[in-house]
């Protein structure tokens, strides 16, 4: 009996990133909902305004936006739970975003050399953004 090697569809980079984009989108919805709920719980005492609420929903870090004031930052946000939440946000958002940039560039750049060149640059920027984000999270 002749066995023929059938190339397996899927499980290449494109398919993995397709799935990852959907899943990370849903995960960021959940993270934002948890963030907005906790911001409401913690900020209700201090009459938090809408802009502050929106900023603290996405990235709960005291070095983030200077004029958003939550008086008891150290009590409320600077603990391990929120640091892990921020790292998740940074990782998911950076990967989702830079993968999206790769897809957009592939649509408009036709030369293979430039495609790979820009992919390398995007990869470096991606690693750089994640390291910078984690440094800010742990350093503040």
């Amino acid at each position: 009996m002749m066995m023929r090697k059938v190339p397996q569809p899927g499980w290449n980079l494109e398919y993995l990133m397709f799935v990852f984009t959907r899943l990370s989108g849903l995960a960021m919805f959940i993270l934002a909902i948890v963030g907005v709920a906790m911001a409401l719980i913690m900020g209700a005492r201090t009459q938090m305004d809408l802009g502050t609420l929106m900023r603290w929903t996405f990235f709960q870090n005291p070095n983030h936006v200077l004029d958003s004031n939550i008086p008891d930052v150290t009590a409320g946000w600077a603990n391990g739970f929120w640091q892990i939440m921020e790292m998740l946000v940074i990782f998911l958002a950076a990967t989702h975003g830079f993968n999206g940039l790769r897809v957009i560039l592939d649509d408009y750049i036709h030369s293979i050399f430039w495609q790979y060149f820009l992919r390398v640059i995007l990869f470096i920027l991606w690693v750089f953004a994640i390291i910078l984000g984690i440094y800010v999270i742990l350093g503040s």
Partner: protein, 129 residues
């Protein structure tokens, strides 16, 4: 592999894709805006933490302005809701038959959320508080 098209930009605009095509274009533009914004945001957080330099402070005052927030908030809310529509249509492919209705429904969700928020934001900005 990139598709070779013999269509220029303005011919592309005349393609009558309707609502879903507008959603696709806006999804792409809002993605670029969000990437630009968040990349600068991370850099600014880093420089605020490390140096507190004038550049970081200047960028902070830029994105604290209400005009900037109105644009970025539209991009974020549109990208989120439109992404949810894409996830739903991809997960249940039979629903693609109703993609025009899905696009209208998406705007029905976006407009109230966005409208209420920018109403409050602009009201606060005008009354100075």
């Amino acid at each position: 592999m990139a598709l070779k098209r013999n269509v220029n930009f303005f011919e592309g605009l005349r393609y009558k894709g309707g609502g879903p095509m507008l959603a696709w274009i806006l999804h792409r533009i809002s993605a670029l805006v969000i990437i630009f914004f968040i990349s600068l945001h991370v850099l600014s957080s880093f420089f605020t933490l490390e140096t507190g330099s004038d550049l970081a402070i200047a960028y902070n005052t830029l994105y604290e302005s209400v005009y900037f927030q109105v644009i970025v908030y539209f991009c974020v809310i549109f990208h989120a809701i439109n992404g949810l529509r894409i996830i739903i249509l991809d997960t249940w492919p039979k629903l693609v038959e109703y993609q025009h209705e899905a696009t209208w429904f998406e705007w029905l969700i976006i407009i109230p959320i966005y409208g209420i928020t920018i109403f409050v934001m602009i009201q606060r900005a005008i009354s100075g508080g």
